[in-house]
C-alpha cells in the first residue's frame, strides 16, 4: 500500500502469543517438525498456547496424545532418532516426572551410549513455577533437576523475545533441549523488536547493568528481580541483573565477569535451596571466583515446603521482591 509497509513495525505481544508464533513458524518452515502433547490440538493447549494451530496446520502436525507421558515422550525420542524434529509439550513439569525415565535414561544417554552414532534432536517444552494457586502438584520449579543431567540442554525463556525466538535454535540443536515456561509469564506483554529475528541458546544476558551487586536469576523470577533492582536504585545501590536464559550448560563466564565487577552476588530462584541450581551457581562462583568476592553469597529461593494452595501461603513460600531487596541491601550495606 505504501512505502512504509515494508518496514517491520514493533509489535506488542504476549509471551503466550510469542510461544505460539514460534511453534507455528517452526512447523511451517520444516516438514520434520511437529508438536504433540496432551490437549494441544482440539482443546488448544492447557495454557492456550496452541489455540487454533491444529485447525491451521492439521492434527498430524499438532497432535493430541492420550494421557501417556512415558509413552508420548518416549515416542518423541524415537521419532527424533528416526529423523523427525518433534516438539513434545508436557502440561507441567510435575507431569514430566511420569516421563522422567524416557528423558533421563533415553534422551540424555543415547548419543553417549551409542558412541555418537545417534543424536536425539528433540524439544520438550513444559510449564513450570507457582503463582496461580495450583497447589503442590502443579506449581513446582523442577527445572534445576533437569539441569543436573549431562546430555540435556535446559532453557528458561523469561522475555517475550526469548519466548518467540528460542524455539528455533532449540530445534536446530542436535541434542534434546528442554524449554521451561513459567506460568506467570504467559500473560506478560512486551513489544517485540522486529529487527531481532534470532537469539542464541548459549548465553546469559545482563538485563540491567549495575556496579554494586549482581542479581542472578531466570524465568519467572526475572521481573521480581528487576523490580528489586529498581527499588535498590532508590537506595543508591546499582544492581546488575543477569537472566541466565540457559540453565544447562550454564554461562558461568557472564556470571563470573559480573561478580568480578560487583563483588557481591544474590541468586534468585523459585526452586528450593537444597541441592539446587542456586546451590550450583553459588558453588561455581566460589570455585572459580572466590577471591573476587567481598561478601558471602546470598540466595533468595522458595521456602522448603510443597507449594500451598492458599494465596497468602503460596506467596509466602515464593521469592519476593522485598526479600531480594533485603538480601542485596544486606550485602552492600552490611545491615
Amino acid at each position: 500500500m505504501s512505502a512504509s509497509a515494508s518496514v517491520p513495525m514493533p509489535q506488542a505481544m504476549t509471551y503466550r502469543e510469542a510461544c505460539k508464533q514460534a511453534i507455528r513458524a517452526a512447523i511451517i518452515a520444516d516438514p520434520r517438525v511437529f508438536l504433540m502433547g496432551e490437549d494441544v490440538a482440539r482443546y488448544g493447549g492447557c495454557y492456550a498456547v496452541t489455540k487454533g494451530l491444529a485447525g491451521e496446520l492439521g492434527e498430524e502436525r499438532i497432535r493430541d496424545t492420550p494421557l501417556s507421558e512415558v509413552g508420548f515422550v518416549g515416542a518423541g525420542i524415537g521419532a527424533a532418532i528416526a529423523g523427525m524434529r518433534p516438539i513434545i509439550e508436557i502440561m507441567t513439569v510435575n507431569f514430566s516426572l511420569l516421563a522422567l525415565d524416557q528423558i533421563v535414561n533415553n534422551a540424555a544417554t543415547i548419543a553417549h551410549m551409542s558412541g555418537g552414532q545417534f543424536a536425539v534432536p528433540l524439544v520438550i517444552s513444559m510449564s513450570t513455577g507457582a503463582g496461580r494457586q495450583l497447589a503442590a502438584q502443579h506449581s513446582h520449579s523442577l527445572e534445576g533437576w533437569y539441569a543436573h543431567i549431562p546430555g540435556l540442554k535446559v532453557l528458561a525463556p523469561a522475555t517475550v523475545e526469548d519466548a518467540r525466538h528460542m524455539l528455533q535454535p532449540a530445534l536446530d540443536d542436535p541434542n534434546p533441549v528442554l524449554i521451561f515456561e513459567h506460568v506467570m509469564l504467559y500473560n506478560r506483554e512486551d513489544v517485540l523488536d522486529p529487527n531481532v529475528t534470532e537469539v542464541d541458546i548459549v548465553s546469559a544476558k545482563i538485563r540491567r547493568p549495575g556496579r554494586d551487586i549482581t542479581l542472578v536469576t531466570y524465568g519467572g523470577s526475572l521481573f521480581k528481580t528487576l523490580e528489586a533492582a529498581t527499588a535498590l536504585q532508590q537506595d543508591g545501590i546499582e544492581a546488575e541483573v543477569i537472566d541466565l536464559r540457559v540453565l544447562r550448560p550454564l554461562d558461568m563466564a557472564t556470571v563470573i565477569a559480573s561478580v568480578a565487577r560487583t563483588r557481591r552476588l544474590v541468586i534468585v530462584d523459585e526452586g528450593w535451596k537444597s541441592g539446587s541450581l542456586s546451590a550450583e551457581i553459588a558453588t561455581r562462583v566460589v570455585e572459580e571466583a572466590f577471591f573476587e568476592l567481598d561478601a558471602p553469597i546470598r540466595r533468595v529461593c522458595a521456602r522448603e515446603v510443597p507449594i500451598p494452595y492458599a494465596a497468602h501461603l503460596e506467596q509466602a513460600a515464593l521469592p519476593q521482591t522485598a526479600a531480594i531487596v533485603a538480601a542485596a541491601r544486606g550485602l552492600v550495606r552490611g545491615a
Binding site: 563470573i256 565477569a257 568480578a260 570455585e287 572459580e288 571466583a289 572466590f290 577471591f291 573476587e292 568476592l293 552490611g334
Partner: protein
C-alpha cells in the same frame, strides 16, 4: 599345565567360599563341566570349567574363602588360559581450575586472611601469597605479623572503609551508652604563646615547639589532679587509669582518625612531649603505630590546630570517661584589668561521662588547665 581360578560371577562379587568339589585329583574334565560349588552373598553357584584336562591338584580345600582370581585347582594337559586384561590406563589428574578472572591491583586473598590483615594493619599488597593461584592465606599474613599485640609494624594500605566502620561502631556506642555532659572554658593563650616564642627563638624549624605541646602538658598535669576523669567505665563501674595516658587524636589523610596514647604524659617534660607528638603524627600517617598505643589511652585530647574550628564538643571514646577538645587559637577582644584589648584566645572544652563524674569535677579540670596555661613559664 593351567590354573583353574575363583571365577568372577558378577560385578559385585569380590570373593567366594568353596563349598564343594565335584572333581578329585586325577579326574578328567572337559569344557562346560561343573567342577565346584561356590557360596557367594547371593547363594551357592555351580562353577563350570572352560578347559579340558586332568585335575592334578586341588589348591583350595572345601571351606576356603578366597578372592576372585585365586587359583583353586591345577590342570594338566590344558591349554593355558590368558592373563586377565590389562587395566585401562589411569585417567590423568584432574585439570586445574579454569583460569580465574584477575582484577588488576586486587590481590587474591582469603576472607580470613583479609580480616586478619585488617586487624593487624598489614598492607596486603606487600604480603606474598602461597595459597591457590598465589592467594594470600592466613599463614601468609601471620608470616608477616607473627603475634598479635607484640608491636607489629604497620604499613600503608590501612583500609579506610574498615576504619570508617570502626569509628562508626565506637561513636555509635558512645552516643548510645554514655550520658555526656559538656563544659567549655575560654582561655587566654598569651602566656603560653609567649613561652613558645621564647623557647623557639633559637631553634631550627623542625625542633620548634608547637602550642599543642603546651596544651598537652597542661592537660596532663590537670588530669593527674582529677582522677575521676582519667580511666575507663567497664562492667558498670569506673576504673581509674594506671597513669595519665593521653590519647592524641590525629586526623589521617584520606579520612579517619586515630588516637594513639602518650603514656604517662604528666611526667614527661615539654620537649619530650613535643618529640612524642611529632613521632606519633608521623607514624600514624604512615600507618606504623603499635597496637598497644591504640588501646592504652585513659583520656583523649583533640586539638583542632590552626585550621580547625573555634571550639569542639567531643564524643568520648569508649570505654574512656572524658575527652578534652582544644579549639583554634583566635585573636579576640579580651578584658584585661578593666580595659579591652586583643588577645589570643582558645576554647577548651570537656565532654564528661556523667556516670563516672559530675560537672563540678569537670569544671575543676578545665579551671586547672586554664590556671596552668596562665603560668606557662612553669610548664
Amino acid at each position: 599345565m593351567t590354573d583353574f581360578r575363583m571365577p568372577s560371577l558378577g560385578a559385585d562379587m569380590e570373593a567366594g567360599t568353596l563349598v564343594e568339589w565335584r572333581v578329585k585329583p586325577g579326574a578328567t574334565v572337559k569344557r562346560g563341566d561343573v567342577v565346584a560349588v561356590v557360596e557367594t552373598q547371593k547363594g551357592a553357584i555351580e562353577i563350570e570349567i572352560f578347559n579340558e584336562g586332568l585335575v592334578s591338584e586341588i589348591v583350595v580345600p572345601v571351606g576356603g574363602r578366597v578372592p576372585v582370581g585365586t587359583v583353586l585347582a591345577r590342570l594338566e594337559g590344558a591349554a593355558g588360559a590368558r592373563e586377565p586384561a590389562a587395566p585401562p590406563p589411569l585417567p590423568p589428574p584432574a585439570p586445574p581450575v579454569s583460569a580465574l578472572p584477575v582484577t588488576p591491583g586486587r590481590p587474591r586473598i582469603s576472607p580470613a586472611a583479609r580480616r586478619l590483615a585488617a586487624a593487624r594493619g598489614i598492607d596486603i599488597q606487600r604480603v606474598a601469597g602461597t595459597g591457590p593461584a598465589g592467594a594470600i592465606t592466613v599463614a601468609d599474613v601471620e608470616a608477616v605479623s607473627p603475634a598479635p599485640g607484640a608491636m607489629p609494624p604497620q604499613r600503608p594500605g590501612f583500609d579506610p572503609a574498615a576504619m570508617r566502620q570502626a569509628i562508626a561502631a565506637a561513636m555509635s556506642r558512645s552516643k548510645r551508652e554514655i550520658p555526656h555532659y559538656y563544659l567549655s572554658q575560654t582561655v587566654d593563650a598569651s602566656a603560653a604563646l609567649a613561652r613558645l616564642e621564647r623557647m623557639n627563638r633559637e631553634r631550627p624549624p623542625p625542633e620548634r615547639l608547637l602550642p599543642a605541646a603546651l596544651f598537652l602538658r597542661a592537660t596532663a598535669l590537670a588530669v593527674a589532679k582529677t582522677p575521676e576523669l582519667n580511666g575507663v567505665w567497664e562492667d558498670g563501674r569506673f576504673r581509674p587509669g594506671d597513669g595519665v595516658h593521653i590519647g592524641w587524636a590525629i586526623a589521617l589523610r584520606g579520612g579517619g582518625l586515630v588516637a594513639p596514647a602518650i603514656r604517662n604524659a604528666d611526667r614527661r617534660p615539654l620537649d619530650d612531649l613535643m618529640a612524642a607528638l611529632r613521632d606519633l603524627v608521623l607514624r600514624a600517617r604512615s600507618f606504623a603505630l603499635r597496637s598497644s598505643e591504640l588501646s592504652d589511652p585513659t583520656i583523649t585530647v583533640t586539638s583542632l590546630g590552626d585550621r580547625g574550628a573555634d571550639a569542639v564538643l567531643p564524643i568520648i571514646y569508649p570505654p574512656q570517661v572524658a575527652m578534652i577538645g582544644i579549639g583554634r587559637i583566635v585573636t579576640r577582644p579580651w578584658v584585661i584589668d578593666g580595659t579591652l584589648g586583643p588577645r589570643p584566645i582558645v576554647a577548651i572544652t570537656l565532654a564528661g561521662d556523667h556516670r563516672a563524674s559530675d560537672g563540678h569535677r569537670g569544671g575543676l579540670l578545665l579551671a586547672e588547665i586554664d590556671r596552668l596555661l596562665q603560668e606557662a613559664e612553669t610548664l
